[in-house]
Structure formats: structure tokens, C-alpha cells
């Protein structure tokens, strides 16, 4: 494991080691939930919210484990997660290529507009590329937490976990 307890972020290798990254076939099939929650904290709303019993947790302090076969990507768990640490990931076919589709929980203003292009940010807060916002589940429908779906290059699927400034508005206008 990396120095996550001093750095405040996990690496993809850490998540692999914990078994929290779904297999490639599953990533290509449909959106799936990944939990970046590995500490023994007293918390279980994700498990309680899952309509498909796809989140396993033996005691309230055990870190959640997603059963990737049962998970339908319905987002119910990420809507309530107080740690804002559940993300939906999907390797989607687009034309002949593959793109990364990521949904993140987001609680800052402004909420980006659909089809705008924003800075794609990794777990350390660094800009790693651009993301196109493809869907916005508005905060007022989820007691303040928006769900933002974005498209990034496939290789950034496991890197991008936040968004920064708007680069271009929905009409392609630079900001």
C-alpha cells in the first residue's frame, strides 16, 4: 500500500490490492460502482441503500465490498455516501473507440452544465486532462449532492475523480 494515511489519497495499485477494482470485462459491460473506502469506520448507508444487495459488509465498521456481478450501476449507494467516495465507472464504446465514463458525487458551486468541457482532476488535485460533462443529476433532487457524469479518455478512467474549472461552455465557447 502507498502512504495513503499521510498523503490523503489512494493509488490505483492500492485499490487493486484491496480488490476494489472491477475486472476489465465488467468495466466494458455497463457502469459499475467502485468504493474507495478502505478504513474501518462506523458507516453503512451504502449497504442499506443498495436495492440489489450488491454491497457486502459484515459489521458496521467493515469496509464495503461491491459484488461487481450483482451491481447494476444504479447509483443509489453513491447518492447517500457521506464520504463521497463511491464512483461509477464504465468503459463505453463510442464509434470505433473506447471512452471512459465516470460519475462523481459533487457538492460545490457552480454545478457544471451538460456538454461543457472541464478540467479533469485526479485524486491528488492535479489536472490530468479534459472531461466532457455528459449528464448532470441536479443537487436539488438529491439533497444537495449532484451526480456528474463525464467522458474522459479511456486510460483516465481510474485516474479522474474530480473536476476543476470550465474550459469551454456547452456551445463551445471558451471561458
Amino acid at each position: 500500500m502507498s502512504d495513503w494515511q499521510t498523503e490523503g489519497y489512494l493509488t490505483v495499485d492500492d485499490l487493486k490490492e484491496k480488490g476494489n477494482i472491477p475486472p476489465e470485462e465488467r468495466l466494458r459491460k455497463a457502469p459499475v460502482a467502485i468504493t474507495e473506502c478502505i478504513q474501518e469506520i462506523p458507516c453503512n448507508p451504502c449497504k442499506a441503500a443498495c436495492p440489489f444487495d450488491a454491497i457486502l459488509m459484515e459489521t458496521i465498521t467493515a469496509p464495503p465490498k461491491v459484488d461487481f456481478d450483482k451491481c447494476t450501476g444504479c447509483t443509489m449507494c453513491m447518492r447517500v455516501c457521506p464520504g463521497l467516495t463511491i464512483f461509477m465507472v464504465y468503459l463505453r464504446k463510442k464509434g470505433g473507440e473506447e471512452v471512459g465514463e465516470i460519475t462523481i458525487p459533487y457538492e460545490l458551486l457552480p454545478v457544471p452544465e451538460k456538454m461543457s468541457v472541464v478540467e479533469a482532476i485526479n485524486r491528488r488535485g492535479e489536472i490530468v486532462g479534459e472531461a466532457v460533462i455528459t449528464r448532470v443529476f441536479p443537487p436539488e433532487k438529491n439533497s444537495g449532492t449532484a451526480l456528474i457524469t463525464m467522458e474522459v479518455p479511456a486510460e483516465l478512467l481510474m485516474e479522474v475523480r474530480s473536476i476543476g474549472r470550465v474550459i469551454r461552455g456547452p456551445e463551445g465557447v471558451s471561458r
Partner: protein
């Protein structure tokens, strides 16, 4: 908008909260009219208008700003309508109020006795609860449900304690509102308490003395003495934020993290533009995130320990916005002319000593300290409860048993005042205290008693499960020490 509102730091748009500002009022600060809104405090109105100094220290005459913003530290005392030593942070504004900075210890009021309500009303209830935070609210609801008449007292002018400023979704078990925001939980409990005909609420009333036989002396709105007698008394007074020793730690702009949270989340006033957070525990990291939501920039978080104290997921939330966390670092000094303009940070070695030559400056206008809280145990001590220092409970507490009764029969404690933990625990403890108090009065009877027995058992089990795991160890061990001490001191087995 009045002229004085220029440069205001009132928050208009917020991702979670809506600030419905009520009627506009005017208060006079050294003769200068200041816009205020009904329902806010003198301190929040002044802060929004740019005032940072509230008093001057006795002797050295150093400027003092807010520190706790919840009535616990006296850093904000002012002369209000001719009376010295009034805590401006919990005093609601009134139209035409005259407010002045206080120098030193203040003066005895010149106002004649005629301005005061001399007759002191006497009130009674089966259960008197001091403190309307989550512990007190949950106890009040449970006690009422078990057939007790309840009197709930809070020195603040609104109920909810620390819960009314917690905009984040709560951890814990789904059964206890985990995933729901603290502010939403508070609202629902407050509405239930207000709707209950068994609970009377007395706000703006500070309990300051306990006398044998369940008699509480309190003062209402700084001018009326109230005598309250309870067959059972619950002291749910919460906790106060710790300070930290460093050069200029009293400079206006150095606040408890909770004070910044109160300003922005309760009153919709931005504490500053650029913040340095000292301490990376849950409070420090959560308040940092909430400051970002209010549009404030977090320059850095410093943490003396070699690793981050908060739940990892809370830390990850702010790291992905690029906020640096310096572990193994501390604040060396604050600097600025009359108010904070920056801070010097220094690296610590493995013996906690500053490493010379590693200092660097951070420019900021606010320094938030989140270096722990300590239980407010003063009333318990004065009432004669056995008080012990239990480090795992974050300070001095009244020794209590599993049913939350102290060594003085009939006096109970619950929530942060009995050991600093968290809100779900505070609510459950309030419930346990209320049920134990009801049982000791022979209430309820029949079928209802059986239900209450089960509820007590169930709540005790849940408390244990929440104190499970590495993060619960402190509370678990601290409470065990308290229960053992109770046995030793009273010879009782529980």
C-alpha cells in the same frame, strides 16, 4: 442595503444551504449604524460588516476576536446596551441596540435595577435538561414519550447545539440517519420537540448553578433569574474547543474551527477568504470542506502527528481539490497588524520539536484551530458530581455509569459533556439517560415499561456497535474507565 454593508461577507449562494434572511434591523456600533437581520447574533452582524475586534484583553490591551462563537470562551464579550461582559456571539440582535468594544474587565452596569425583572419565576418538571444539542433533544423526546414533563433549557437562542451547523451527510448506521445531513436531522428533532405538549423550551437561558434537590439557577436573557426544579436533571452541556499555544494565538482571525462553521453555516457569513487549518482530525477536515463550499480557499492543513487524523474518506474529499495536508508540521506563529495576515509553519521532528530552518509562511486571513474539544463539566463539578480526568473522553468529566447517571443520584449526563464523541452517540446517550431517569421515577408501567426495557437494551447495544473498530477505541476505553470508576466510588455494580 445600507452603506455599512459594503464589503460584506454574507453568503448568497451555497450548494447545500439556503439563507432566508429575515427582517432588516439596525444596531449601533460605536455610533455607526450596522445592518443586521432578525434572528442573528450581534457577533455575526458585526462580522458581516467587517468588524474583527470585539474586546481588548485586561492588562496588555491586546485585541480579541471571536474564538468559539457558541458562548463558551468569553473572547467576544462586549458592552451591549450599557452592560459589560455580554457574549456577543450568543446574543441576538435587537433593533436600536447599542454595542461597544469592551476594554479589559468592563464596568458594573449603571443601569438601575428597575430595568431588570426582579421577580424570579419558579418552574418545575419531572425532567430538567440543560442543553438542547442532539443529546438534550433526543432525551427530551424520549422522556416525553415515557410520560415525563420536560423542561429543556439552552443558552443559545435556538435549539440544536452543534448539529445545526453540520451540513455534511452523517456517518453511522442507516437506522440512525446515516447518509442524512446533520442540519436535516437537527430540523426534524427540533420540530418534534416544538410540537410536543410535554416539553417546554426555555431559550437564551444560561444555567449557572445547581442546588441540592434538583434546583437549577439560571439567568434568562441576561436580566431575569429563573429557579427551576427537576425531579431528575440531565446536564447535556456539550463541549468547548481547545486552543493551542503559539505566538499571537489571540490575534483576531484565529478561531476555533467550530466558530468558523457557526459563522458560515448558521448565519451565512463568510469567515474570510483564505484559511489555514490547524489539525487534520474529522472536525478540521470537515470544516475545511465546508469552508470550500462557502467559497473560501483552504491554503493548507497542518497536522503535528505523522499521519492524517480524520477518516480517510473525508481527507480524500479535500485532497482531490488540491488542498495540501502537511503532516508532521505545526503552526509556529500567527502574524498581522491587528488581525491575522499570515502564519509561519514549521516541520516537527519525531520528538515533536520544531526543526530549525524549515519554517515557511502561508498568507491567510483566518487561522482555524481544530485541535480537539473538551467536555463542559462545570455544572457537574459545582453540583458535587465526582469529576475525573479521562484522556480518552477528552478531559474532565462527571464519572457516570452505563445508564449515564453520575455519582449524585438523579443527575445524569449525555453527549459530548460526558466525553467528546459524536452526534449519533450523543443522541443515543440522551435516550439512555431519559429511560433510566424515567425508570427511577417508576415510569412507565405495564406494556410500555416492557417496550422501554427493550429500547434501553437495544440502544445500549447500538452504542457498543458504534464504538466498535479502531476509531471507536477511544470512546470505548474512556467509557469503560468511567463505568469502573463509578463502581469504585459508589460501591454499586452496574
Amino acid at each position: 442595503m445600507s452603506e455599512n454593508d459594503i464589503g460584506t461577507s454574507r453568503i448568497d449562494r451555497h450548494p447545500i444551504l439556503e439563507f432566508h434572511r429575515r427582517k432588516e434591523l439596525t444596531i449601533y456600533y460605536h455610533g455607526r449604524p450596522i445592518l443586521a437581520y432578525e434572528g442573528e447574533t450581534v457577533a455575526s452582524a458585526l462580522y458581516a460588516a467587517g468588524v474583527r475586534t470585539f474586546s481588548y484583553s485586561p492588562g496588555l490591551d491586546r485585541p480579541r476576536g471571536l474564538f468559539c462563537a457558541i458562548g463558551k470562551c468569553a473572547s467576544c464579550v462586549m458592552n451591549i446596551d450599557g452592560i459589560s461582559n455580554v457574549r456577543s456571539c450568543i446574543t441576538p440582535v435587537r433593533n436600536g441596540m447599542i454595542v461597544e468594544e469592551q476594554k479589559g474587565a468592563g464596568t458594573f452596569p449603571e443601569t438601575t435595577v428597575g430595568d431588570y425583572e426582579t421577580a424570579s419565576p419558579e418552574l418545575e418538571a419531572d425532567m430538567v435538561i440543560i442543553g438542547g444539542g442532539p443529546a438534550g433533544l433526543s432525551a427530551a423526546l424520549e422522556a416525553a414519550d415515557l410520560g415525563m414533563s420536560v423542561l429543556l433549557l439552552d443558552e443559545n437562542h435556538q435549539l440544536g447545539g452543534q448539529l445545526i451547523k453540520q451540513t455534511h451527510r452523517f456517518f453511522g448506521s442507516k437506522e440512525h440517519d446515516a447518509g442524512v445531513r446533520g442540519v436535516t436531522i437537527a430540523k426534524s428533532m427540533i420540530e418534534k420537540v416544538e410540537a410536543s405538549d410535554k416539553v417546554s423550551v426555555l431559550l437564551g437561558t444560561t444555567a449557572f448553578g445547581y442546588y441540592p434537590g434538583g434546583v437549577i439557577a439560571a439567568v434568562k436573557e441576561n436580566k431575569q433569574l429563573v429557579k427551576i426544579t427537576g425531579k431528575r436533571v440531565l446536564l447535556a452541556t456539550g463541549a468547548a474547543e481547545n486552543s493551542l499555544a503559539f505566538e499571537n494565538n489571540d490575534l483576531p482571525g484565529v478561531y476555533g474551527a467550530g466558530a468558523a462553521q457557526t459563522l458560515m453555516n448558521v448565519y451565512g457569513v463568510k469567515p474570510g477568504d483564505e484559511v489555514l487549518m490547524v489539525g487534520s482530525g474529522n472536525v478540521g477536515v470537515i470544516v475545511s470542506y465546508q469552508l470550500m463550499q462557502a467559497g473560501v480557499r483552504i491554503k493548507a492543513i497542518v497536522e503535528a502527528m505523522p499521519k492524517i487524523g480524520a477518516y480517510f474518506v473525508h481527507a480524500a474529499k479535500i485532497r482531490r481539490f488540491g488542498v495540501p495536508i502537511y503532516v508532521g508540521h505545526s503552526i509556529k506563529r500567527a502574524f498581522g497588524n491587528g488581525k491575522v495576515e499570515g502564519a509561519t509553519i514549521v516541520k516537527l521532528d519525531d520528538k515533536w520539536q520544531p526543526v530549525p530552518g524549515t519554517e515557511f509562511d502561508v498568507k491567510c486571513d483566518v487561522i482555524c484551530l481544530s485541535v480537539g474539544l473538551h467536555p463542559s463539566y462545570e455544572l457537574m463539578a459545582q453540583a458535587g458530581c465526582a469529576i475525573k480526568f479521562i484522556p480518552e473522553l477528552s478531559g474532565h468529566v462527571a464519572v457516570h455509569n452505563r445508564n449515564l447517571e453520575t455519582t449524585v443520584p438523579g443527575i445524569y449526563v449525555a453527549g459530548d459533556s460526558s466525553g467528546v464523541e459524536e452526534a449519533s452517540i450523543a443522541m443515543m446517550e440522551g435516550k439512555v439517560a431519559a429511560i433510566s431517569a424515567a425508570f427511577s421515577l417508576g415510569k412507565p408501567v405495564g406494556e410500555k415499561r416492557k417496550e422501554a426495557d427493550q429500547m434501553l437494551e437495544h440502544t445500549q447495544k447500538q452504542l457498543e456497535s458504534l464504538r466498535d473498530g479502531p476509531f471507536g477505541a477511544r470512546g470505548r476505553n474512556g467509557k469503560r474507565k468511567s463505568f469502573e470508576l463509578y463502581e469504585q466510588l459508589t460501591g454499586a455494580r452496574v
